[in-house]
Symmetry: C2
Subunit: 513 residues, 2 copies
């Protein structure tokens, strides 16, 4: 950790800058130099730990109710042309920094929601700023290639030094996309093509005339009677195929036609885990049995099963490593693909780079999908037969975005430079222990605390969840929920013990009120 | 046209630069200044027209067969980690400029394919370079917001001065997305929600318990038995919902499960149009009758019809303004939405900003989708009831990308500055006339020439289409096909008469060989 940033004793540079002159008038190169020139050593945070963002605010600032008057005006204006009914906070990103998010009224909140778990290494991160102002980024922005037809000469290099440098074990190839939903649908398409080639008799067997003609009418056998198995409360996106596998909430699904695909139960574990080990093992076995039943009997046979390591929208539901190992073997036994959706769990938040590393699988997943903190998207795979057997079968105009792939490479460099996966593991343990103490003190406020040993990917149930989320803003914390009752923590990878202390203290303030 | 670029008598700056030192070492600001400082006046092209890119090569350069030795090595390397079987050309974007695309072996081709019709204003366009190196772009890259929850304070401004400044008449609101497929699926979702609210009795009527519970099982009524009507040979994307409306080619559809949605015939016109007006009018009426039959009788009633102004992947198929007017009225009569897919036709290529402006509709479309040359994506709409009646119904993590919205704003500025929509109209007429002459001379090579009065959006059928596309590279032209037999021209908006002359001359060379 040789290179850390400091400007000890000076004002928070982004805030100061924003006040002095409009953000749009500052040359990015000059800004980056400002950070780079201050890189010699690190300041210590209160608890003795090196701070990744020494210039962060030391505490949240709450000046007005949120939204304040300026935000209200801006929301009203935006509402005329863009749907604002899901708006949570109108943000001034120029004044946001590190773990802190700023609004238009001078409020600066500790952000443990991080754009729905998608900001990895802090707002206005200087390393990313350098990548974003590089000539190769500018070229990627203005000369966007149709990657499948006209890739840029250094695309292999960008992949190898970026996306593929963190490929899960055994999965050395990638198909790039643009969002988590997109990544999952691309994986489903690969799964269907793979399964149909098997049914057809092998990778090189050609289509029949009947398949060709029926496909154009959306009928079997060309449009096959197959499915993807997913799990109750799972979330895999909101496009038509991915939404058919999403089982999180009715508001996500209502009024949208869906494929008649099967859903298996996801284990419903009892907490604390050590007090319910027998019950939980039985519950997991029940769920595995039901999954096997659906795999062997559903009227549209599954080509693949897709599952999240932690159900991240549907309530922060966990299962044991043993469950996932058995599910993986079940897929192998019945010759269907095992897809792990790491869109929300991936890229370091759980104390491993990929959450499924916690399982110690004998056979790797067939595909692992990613997005969010990667700031790009796609699926990893290893088996060559998951490349469709002809060109243009898995294809679209852009097939990803080199600009975002370059950004992910910078994110990976920052994660490595600051050892951030280890940070989420150690900070996560510290935070979990603090929450455990709070739970003992406020048992009605923190129920079913979960995520032990899973980095900062921690959640608990609250009987008054929505009120807690709302109160949090008033004490300077931006936090989200998942499912119907869970408070979910999704801090960035640069969330440290000093931030955990603030979070714990503010939570207690809410519980006391 | 006050500001044009010139460095008359000097070497092509991008080429010279690339040779002198690696592209990655050049500061973008300096580069932009180089362009900006040379902006006083314009040089004239050979035909007396002002050249938008005076420093472009004056002619294609073909040094090796394509792919040449360096490209072959690079393709082999990329092939280990990324599917390269649809690869057309390995590109050096640092050496590409204006209408010219460069490879790794010193070949520089006139590009009339333009990344599958998605590059609008030339490679390494200086105006876009400025936008790409601006501080607001850097912030948009590194602080990517979840737009539905945490929009940036200037999002309304970015929309109003960019995407919405070119909104089709009557459609003053936008929902942003990330690709053409995504845009169409978002429009379908809006259509389904709208239709179900009507069936439910109005915009504010709530869901029933039965709808809520059945939606979670992918069953009606929660997952409704509704459809989207599309047209034979249409292309609307390759995600599961959009692919169900795509009817272009079997290779796009084979092995992917699809919804049992209806397809109406698309008029099959005979050329030249003025010789077959009675037959073509009858054909269009036949297609309208069949569409009406499907709308009123299909077992899954359509909530909307989607159509391209010109079927751009399925063979460059055109229909008359009269046909589209009648189709629009048909949708209104039967209370289904009329969605115009302008993903490929939009943003100036047809001599209007939006191709459907050619129709002179009495009632605007309900939604217009866009992507490609916009370098971002989404759908425009006007009716407030196309905003779903509750928050979080039309929602996803990113909901678009401010970085790409900022780029589209710069593209719009460049289109306005250089009057590029007018340019495609006038250059298109010039090019069409030249092709008409060639067709008379080589009637076996150019058949069913189409796109008259549609800017540079021109195509023809060729009995040896694939051989023509391949030969074109050898004479310095990068061109693509559509459907089974069409050669499609998709030059950028900065394609001028001097480029048309080169294209016509090289085509004749192919036809003679």
């Amino acid at each position: 950790m040789a290179y850390l940033l400091r400007t000890a004793g000076r004002a928070h540079p982004v805030l100061a800058r924003s006040i002095a002159r409009p953000a749009s008038r500052i040359a990015p190169i000059a800004l980056s130099r400002q950070y780079a020139s201050a890189a010699a050593s690190a300041v210590a945070a209160d608890n003795g730990e090196q701070a990744f963002f020494p210039d962060e605010p030391t505490t949240p600032i709450v000046k007005t109710p949120i939204p304040g008057p300026k935000s209200k005006d801006a929301i009203e204006r935006l509402g005329k042309v863009f749907d604002t009914r899901s708006l949570n906070m109108m943000v001034d990103y120029g004044r946001s920094y590190g773990n802190y998010i700023a609004d238009l009224d001078g409020n600066v909140l500790l952000d443990v929601y991080a754009q729905i778990a998608s900001i990895p290494v802090g707002y206005n991160n200087p390393t990313l700023q350098l990548a974003a102002t590089s000539p190769e980024m500018a070229s990627a922005i203005i000369n966007r290639p149709a990657l499948g037809n006209f890739p840029q000469h250094d695309w292999a290099d960008i992949l190898e030094t970026g996306i593929l440098s963190v490929a899960p074990k055994g999965l050395g190839q990638v198909f790039t996309g643009q969002s988590g939903s997109d990544a999952n649908e691309l994986a489903y398409k690969a799964a269907f093509m793979w399964k149909r080639q098997q049914q057809r008799g092998g990778y090189d067997v050609d289509f029949t005339e009947h398949e060709i003609s029926s496909s154009m009418n959306n009928q079997a056998p060309g449009a096959p009677a197959l499915s993807i198995l997913s799990f109750k409360s799972g979330f895999h996106g909101r496009l038509f195929g991915s939404l058919s596998t999403t089982r999180s909430k009715p508001i996500h699904k209502l009024d949208i036609p869906a494929f008649d695909w099967p859903q298996a139960p996801f284990p419903s574990l009892k907490y604390p885990l050590d007090q319910f080990s027998a019950e939980n093992a039985a519950e997991e076995q029940r769920c595995l049995d039901e999954a096997e039943h659906l795999i062997t009997s559903w009227h549209l046979p599954p080509a693949a099963a897709i599952i999240e390591p932690i159900q991240s929208e549907g309530g922060d539901n966990h299962a044991s490593a043993s469950y996932f190992n058995k599910l993986r073997e079940l897929c192998k036994k019945h010759n269907i693909l095992f897809i792990v959706d790491e869109v929300q769990t991936g890229v370091g938040a759980t104390g491993k780079f990929w959450a499924h590393e916690h399982w110690g699988l004998q056979t790797p997943p067939d595909m692992v999908t990613f997005s969010k903190k990667a700031q790009t998207a796609g699926y990893y795979y290893g088996n060559n037969e998951l490349r469709p057997n002809k060109p243009y079968r898995q294809f679209n105009t852009w097939m990803g975005d080199p600009a975002r792939a370059i950004l992910f490479r910078a994110i990976i460099q920052e994660i490595n430079r600051l050892d951030l996966v280890r940070n989420t593991a150690t900070t996560g343990t510290y935070l979990y222990d603090g929450l455990q103490s709070l739970a003992e003190q406020y048992p009605n406020e923190i129920q079913n605390l979960r995520g032990k040993g899973q980095g900062t990917f921690i959640a608990w149930d609250s009987p008054r969840r929505d009120a807690v989320l709302k109160s949090a803003k008033g004490v300077g914390i931006n936090v989200g929920g998942s499912g119907e009752r869970a408070v979910r923590l999704r801090p960035m990878l640069v969330f440290q013990k000093q931030h955990a202390d603030i979070l714990l203290e503010r939570l207690e303030k809410i519980f006391k009120s």
